[in-house]
């Protein structure tokens, strides 16, 4: 890898946790531990807020309002935060509660909402290949997600091919090629500026001829309100269907956890244009909470397949509702 000059940036030590919430067991093999170490950073503020709020305190209107605000700061959105809080009020209003009890009840309610959408990506290698199209706005982490997923499925013994469908952005093709070399997966690419739909057509055809199990097609990032770029994406899907009527078998929308309420618009429009079948939430290792996922689950019910909690390949993890919810409210 070093010949490319792309050193792993955090080989020495994982990112240190912020001062108030030290997170032990960074290297724990359990994915929950890993997620927690990522999310602990995000939820430390939320947690300390809850701690301040609810240590031996009556759950009155004022407390509920503050709680609602804490959920808002986690990007749940005004409406969802209000609904979750109202639910809490229904069962516990007027009672003396501890912060632990509140966290547990909150996590339960969030798990109830997220449970139905926590579904892993189901690859059917018999499709030869199972075609996964990856879409999203610019900079959400599509190419990195593909790289990580390719590694996972390659390690699981599947024949995986990558298609460099981002023929627009400078060096995007090269970026995917590096991932191809890292993961030892062939990359189908054309020069920057080539027709992406044509490339996708060729990729499915070649991958099929080779008898691949799995084909990931990368696409150029595009803002969902750009009608012409969205139409291009729809065209790309049509060209895939010319080779295989049933493809793409999955369309993954990659969302950045830092995003706020605009995620609604992203899901809505991408879903309309290219029938998004599932979501991946990236960059959860920062301080962004990704709480918008709760609102998205309520509104669209799309499966959440995976979350990204770091830059290493193994930092892409299946999405588990309970763990996410508990981490979101700061439960250990």
């Amino acid at each position: 890898m070093s010949i490319f000059g792309f050193g792993k940036k955090k080989d020495a030590a994982p990112a240190p946790a912020p001062d108030p919430a030290p997170t032990p067991a960074e290297e724990s093999a359990s994915w929950f531990g890993r997620l927690k170490s990522g999310l602990a950073k995000s939820s430390s503020k939320l947690t300390s807020g809850l701690g301040d709020l609810f240590t031996k305190r009556k759950l009155d209107d004022e407390a509920l309002e503050e709680l609602e605000e804490l959920l808002i700061t986690a990007d749940l959105g005004v409406a969802t935060a209000a609904r979750v809080t109202k639910h809490l009020a229904k069962t516990r209003f007027g009672q003396d509660v501890t912060s632990d009890e509140i966290k547990a009840t909150l996590a339960e309610e969030i798990t109830r909402i997220l449970g139905p959408v926590a579904r892993p990506l189901a690859i059917d290698p018999a499709r030869k290949p199972h075609v996964v199209l990856v879409v999203g706005v610019n900079g959400s982490g599509k190419t990195t997600t593909i790289g990580k997923m390719a590694k996972t499925y390659k390690d699981a013994g599947l024949n995986v091919t990558l298609a460099a469908g981002d023929t627009f952005r400078a060096a995007a093709v090269e970026q995917l090629k590096v991932w191809g070399e890292r993961t030892n997966c062939p990359v189908i690419a054309r020069e920057t500026g080539a027709d992406a739909a044509g490339l996708a057509y060729d990729a499915v055809e070649q991958s099929r001829a080779r008898g691949d199990d799995l084909l990931f097609i990368d696409t150029a990032g595009r803002l969902q309100n750009k009608a012409d770029l969205m139409a291009e994406l729809a065209k790309l899907v049509r060209s895939i269907k010319k080779v295989d009527e049933t493809a793409p078998h999955d369309v993954l929308l990659v969302l950045d956890a830092t995003v706020g309420q605009n995620a609604h618009s992203q899901v809505e429009i991408f879903k309309d244009m290219v029938a998004v079948s599932g979501l991946v939430l990236t960059k959860l290792d920062g301080t962004a909470r990704g709480g918008v996922l709760v609102a998205l689950a309520e509104k669209f019910g799309l499966p959440v397949h995976a979350i990204g909690v770091g830059e290493k390949v193994e930092d892409l993890r299946p999405f588990e509702a309970d763990a996410f919810a508990r981490s979101l409210v700061g439960m250990e």
Binding site: A74, V137, G260
Partner: protein, 454 residues
């Protein structure tokens, strides 16, 4: 998707018919809606609270201008305060140092640093500066190549890539090359990093110490949510930010992050990234961002225009007639004249909330000033009696009117139909009082099915 602030406020003030000063109760009620609107626009909660407090202090007791509703008045105050918070437009880059002047670009992964670096390089090149671009991103695959390609497109200098060289060393080499080869500006594009990644934050701080940049620009995505506060604070504390660049402003995000970051860091927003092309870099316009955050188009501009141009007395006379259920073709003509006085109709419609989505429909409907002028011509081709009593207008009169106005009979029919719809609506509006005229007067000109939210 989200209700615009003005439609929210519309509901709040529907019940209010009183004039005069805004009472504390009015303002409190309205600001509850403002709060939700700001939160939905992703303004950070702490910033929202502080902002609301300031607006409240300004709004209570404020006189409501005659031609606008109390709701619109509150929007105006909120908007003005937003602009004041967002800061002045067009803060230029600080290049006053011994060349080569260093600009350091920082931000989270995927925020748009590399593209923005190239955009700024192109802008400076156009200002006759000799610019060198250098990528310190040794982590993301092909990031250095990306900047090199973009430098080629912008036709500015690019620091040769040395594989395996680490960021601080690259930055030193960049400044050296900049000095030896007579560059005016060296732009250092760094790897995306999380503000809580101490190791990488220390690295960028070391780059800063080694190169002494005059500008350290924090590049942030306009879609950023509540986390904007945290990341802006951390970057500012650990690296020292001198300005903010908000990217992807060409998306449909409301961009509340701009307000959050400005409020938290006190640093100016210097540029807006508005597209993937290298020339899509705009200087910051607080009014534009304020309008987006409020999700209301340029209602404020509309209110101001209305204040400038609408003839108050005439509007009130019309309103009185409507209250009595009298609205004839002469009144309609006068409304047309008032609308025309406000300027280009498309421009006015563009200021209205929710109209963006209807841009296509507007095109199809062919709404323009010419159409209004033609309709005026049809009415002026009628006799006084006909204008007062449109029921008189039958087949032969229609032919005469059409000939007089230079249109077809069907155009006359269309106008009469439109008049009927307007008259029916005006009767309802009349019951709402004088404000109803302002509220529905322009809407009444739109074909049925194109009413916009209010």
């Amino acid at each position: 998707m989200f209700e615009s602030l003005s439609s929210r406020l519309g509901k709040v003030f529907e019940k209010l018919t009183g004039r005069g000063a805004l009472s504390e109760a009015d303002v409190t009620e309205a600001l509850r809606e403002v709060r939700v609107a700001l939160l939905e626009a992703d303004v950070a909660l702490s910033v929202v609270k502080e902002f609301i407090g300031r607006v409240k202090a300004r709004a209570v007791g404020q006189e409501v201008i005659k031609s606008v509703t109390p709701g619109q008045m509150v929007v105006k105050i909120v908007h003005d305060e937003l602009i004041a918070t967002l800061g002045t437009k067009g803060t230029e880059l600080n290049l006053s140092a011994v060349p080569p002047v260093v600009i350091l670009m920082v931000g989270l992964q995927g925020s748009g640093k590399t593209t923005t670096s190239a955009k700024i390089a192109l802008k400076l090149k156009k200002e006759k500066k000799k610019v060198l671009l250098a990528s310190l991103d040794v982590y993301r695959p092909a990031a250095q190549q990306q900047l090199q390609i973009l430098a080629g497109q912008a036709e500015v200098g690019s620091l040769p890539i040395v594989m395996g060289e680490m960021p601080v060393a690259i930055s030193r080499r960049a400044v050296d090359v900049g000095r030896k080869e007579g560059y005016d500006v060296v732009i250092l594009d760094t790897a995306g990093r999380l503000h809580i990644d101490q190791e990488l934050m220390a690295e960028v701080a070391a780059v800063r110490d080694a190169t002494q940049p005059t500008e350290t620009l924090l590049v942030t995505d306009a879609m950023t949510g509540q986390d904007a506060v945290t990341l802006a604070r951390e970057f500012n504390e650990k690296v020292g930010v001198t300005g903010i660049v908000l990217t992807r402003i060409d998306g449909d995000a409301r961009g509340g992050a701009a307000l959050s970051m400005r409020a938290i860091t006190g640093r100016p927003i210097k540029f807006l990234g508005a597209g993937e092309k290298l020339d899509a870099l705009e200087v910051f316009h607080p009014d534009r961002i304020a309008g987006r955050i409020l999700g209301m188009g340029d209602v404020v501009g509309l209110v101001e225009k209305a204040m400038e141009t609408l003839d108050q007395e005439e509007a009130e006379r019309l309103a009185k007639r409507m209250e009595k259920g009298k609205f004839d073709l002469d009144d309609m003509r006068k409304q047309f004249a008032q609308v025309r006085k406000m300027g280009d109709l498309k421009g006015i419609l563009g200021m209205l909330p929710g109209i963006g989505k209807m841009a296509g429909a507007l095109k199809d409907a062919n709404i323009d000033n010419k159409m209004v002028a033609r309709q005026e011509a049809i009415i002026t081709s009628m006799t006084k009696a006909e204008r007062r009593n449109p029921d008189l207008i039958k087949a032969s009169r229609k032919k005469r009117i059409a000939a007089g106005a230079g249109v077809e009979v069907q155009d006359v029919n269309k106008l009469l139909k439109q008049y009927q719809q307007m008259a029916d609506m005006m009767k309802k509006v009349g019951k709402l009082g004088q404000k109803g005229l302002m509220r529905h007067g322009i809407g009444g000109l739109l074909p049925p099915g194109m009413k916009f939210g209010r």
